[in-house]
């Protein structure tokens, strides 16, 4: 961006400034730390100048919003056209209770739904399974059959709201239920929009709600890609998630690297299954975290976008522009929230949400202040949503596209994160790809090392957490936390007994048997799963059949 003479002149001035001004000042007023660094251990200098981005080529490296390599955003006008989707992740207890919370959030101005399922649902157990005891309705809503989903979306028009479902191992089944409800509401499938998370690789790495071994899991995922490309063209068939990787302790660089490495594995699998890259790649979406280090986070989002564009173009020969666009949802960092002085979390969430918006997110969930203690109350979730609305309507940051671009520091950091992430991806390639790297425990080990280092830095006071290792106060325990009714489990069990009495059990048996037969072939499983769901076979029954055919994943414990 600068000619050589200019660069030389700046360099000379910079050295003079260091010699004359900085040294003198530092002698009198030493700097706060001997070394400054970002959360990803990238060294932070005292000042960034054109010298740090002298190789940056504006057209090649940044380009224009809505155009390759999408560094400055995936849409030409970004938030000048419309804001990001404000999508609060919610769900708890029964379908009735969650339906009420969704209607509350929509009334408060939320623009998309995001469904949290309880752990038994995520792991494919019905509410009456012995392992489900104590877990029913706790971290999300309990869904045992289509009947529960009908209640969950009662009075919510599926053609007018987009729905994100945080569901992975049994994603195909929940998607099938959503399709069945759309049919009941007479909504054509082309009108459905939303996302299923459907990202199994990060479950093995970071989140733990896996069911099947990698190979059949990947098959379910590519079956969904294929089915949706033909039947639900506006559905995001996967949300490749760095969020949980980051929560498990990864740095920003590792988050980008491991998420994109997983993305590469899905694209590889789909191509191997015979799909054409430009048929499914436009519907791949991503999910990132936003932590407190605002500028590093902004650079992270920009780096991820540029890196993915290059991967799709150069590695997979995608030709559709949409295949190269990295669209992403962001959630603020749950693990950055403190149980101490919970109101401080409102400020943390604000900074993180700002980073996501400055980084060009398509959709955002802001965490609530009390989430280090329990599920959020209505009051605290409202504040979290208002945080997004204030950024959108009052802060001015949404009025121009990619406003931090051209900052010497931001561009330097964007470049640096891209390079370091690329090095990780190369290393994973040498190990044989993401699946193999996970099998060998490489990715898990890298994340755990980062998590442990972080904890040590906090305990050595090298990293300050306000209210935890500095500025502590005596506090009374927080009041009015949300409690899930312990009766939920029993009520779900009662419902299951009724369901099994009232449904056509011959039809259930027929559809389940058919699924079993199909699971042993290479045919697409979606139609058979949709039949099972419509016969009111339960989630546990359907997953049970697939467990029989596919087996179950056993975790390799790595410390």
């Amino acid at each position: 961006m600068f000619d050589n003479d200019k660069i030389n002149a700046i360099e000379q001035k910079y050295n003079e400034w260091e010699e004359k001004s900085v040294k003198k000042t530092v002698q009198r007023f030493p700097e706060r730390k001997t070394a400054f660094k970002t959360g990803s251990n990238i060294e932070v200098k005292n000042l960034y100048t054109p010298l740090d981005i002298k190789d940056l080529d504006y057209i090649e490296d940044l380009g224009f919003p809505g155009e390759y390599p999408f560094t400055r955003g995936v849409q030409p006008t970004m938030y000048r056209g419309r804001f990001w989707t404000m999508r609060q992740y919610a769900g708890f207890g029964t379908a009735e209770e969650s339906n009420k919370r969704y209607k509350f959030l929509l009334e408060q101005g939320q623009t998309g739904l995001s469904v949290a399922f309880d752990l038994p649902t995520q792991i494919g157990y019905d509410s009456d399974h012995p392992l489900a005891q104590g877990e029913v309705g706790k971290v999300g809503v309990a869904i045992d059959s289509l009947e529960d989903m009908e209640i969950l979306f009662d009075g919510i028009p599926l053609d007018r709201v987009s729905t994100s479902m945080t569901i992975n191992a049994p994603a195909a089944i929940l998607l099938a239920m959503y399709i069945a409800i759309a049919e009941k509401q007479n909504v054509p499938l082309e009108k459905l929009s939303g996302t299923i998370q459907n990202d199994i690789l990060k479950e093995y790495i970071a989140r733990g709600t896996y069911i099947f071994p990698p190979e059949p899991s990947m098959r379910l995922i590519t079956d969904i890609f294929e089915y949706c490309s033909k039947n639900i063209p506006n559905w995001n068939t996967i949300s490749i998630s760095g969020y949980h990787i980051r929560e498990a302790g990864a740095t920003a660089v590792q988050e980008v690297a491991f998420t994109l490495a997983n993305g590469i594995a899905y694209v590889d699998a789909a191509i191997k299954a015979g799909l054409n890259v430009d048929d499914f790649a436009p519907r791949l979406s991503f999910f990132f975290n936003a932590h407190n280090d605002i500028l590093e986070e902004v650079a992270k989002f920009r780096a991820a976008r540029r890196l993915w564009a290059k991967i799709m173009k150069d590695r997979f020969n995608a030709t559709n522009k949409k295949s190269m666009m990295l669209r992403f949802h962001t959630q603020t960092g749950g693990s950055t929230l403190t149980a101490q002085q919970p109101d401080n979390n409102i400020i943390r969430v604000t900074l993180q949400a700002l980073a996501a918006v400055l980084g060009g997110t398509q959709s955002l969930h802001t965490n609530s202040r009390d989430e280090a203690l329990a599920l959020p109350t209505e009051d605290s979730v409202r504040i979290a949503l208002r945080t997004q609305q204030i950024i959108a309507y009052e802060s001015g940051v949404a009025e121009t596209v990619d406003p931090l671009a051209g900052s010497y520091y931001i561009e330097y950091l964007t470049d640096k994160i891209e390079k370091e992430a690329q090095e990780y991806i190369d290393k994973i390639d040498r190990l044989g790809g993401a699946s193999k790297a996970i099998e060998k425990g490489f990715i898990q080990q890298e994340i755990q090392d980062s998590a442990y280092n972080y904890q040590k830095e906090v305990e050595n006071n090298q990293r300050i957490i306000v209210g935890v290792n500095k500025f502590r106060i005596e506090e009374a325990p927080p009041k009015d936390l949300l409690k899930v009714d312990p009766e939920v489990g029993r009520r779900q069990e009662q419902k299951l007994i009724q369901l099994k009495k009232n449904r056509n059990n011959d039809e259930v048996e027929r559809t389940l048997n058919n699924l079993k037969k199909m699971a042993k072939t290479k045919e697409n499983l979606m139609p058979a799963i949709i039949d099972c769901v419509k016969s009111y076979a339960t989630l546990g029954e359907i997953c049970g059949i697939l467990r029989e055919v596919f087996g179950e994943y056993k975790q390799a414990v790595i410390l």
Binding site: L119, P120, E135, E247, A451, Y452, E459
Partner: protein, 132 residues
């Protein structure tokens, strides 16, 4: 008591919760502090945890849960330890646990509950004060 004895700790994830960052960080910190640590991995039933603890002759079981199922799962572990006459094993708990549940957990026999923001040093000191 024998002060040269190496303290043996089982770190366990009962229930279906998959968030094990805290459990693993604590496992490593205890190990760095000279203890013998066994991490069970995810989705352990209370029966499996108690079995492992008895077989491994553990001094301490550390239970981690972030899913809200702690009252149910932790009490099961305590119950089984009593049944198997292994209630000399100290049980500590951690995770996303509301303050108001802590007295109840302690009443059922959980020696201490460590919530987010706890320093690993506090956990190490607590274990040493109880075992050595």
């Amino acid at each position: 008591m024998n002060t040269t004895k190496r303290i043996r700790v089982i770190i366990a994830k009962p229930g279906l919760d998959g968030h094990d960052r805290g459990a693993k960080v604590i496992a490593r910190a205890l190990r760095d502090a000279g203890m013998e640590v066994i991490y069970t991995g995810l989705r352990q039933t209370p029966e499996q945890i108690v079995e492992t603890a008895i077989q491994e002759d553990a001094d301490v079981i550390g239970l981690s849960s972030l899913s809200g199922a702690h009252l149910h799962l932790f009490s099961k572990v305590i119950e089984l330890l009593r049944e198997k006459k292994a209630d000399n094993i100290i049980v500590i708990g951690g995770g996303v646990i509301p303050e108001e549940d802590i007295p109840e957990l302690k009443k059922m026999g959980i020696a201490e509950v460590f919530t987010p923001g706890t320093s690993t040093k506090d956990i190490i000191d607590f274990i040493k004060s109880k075992v050595l």
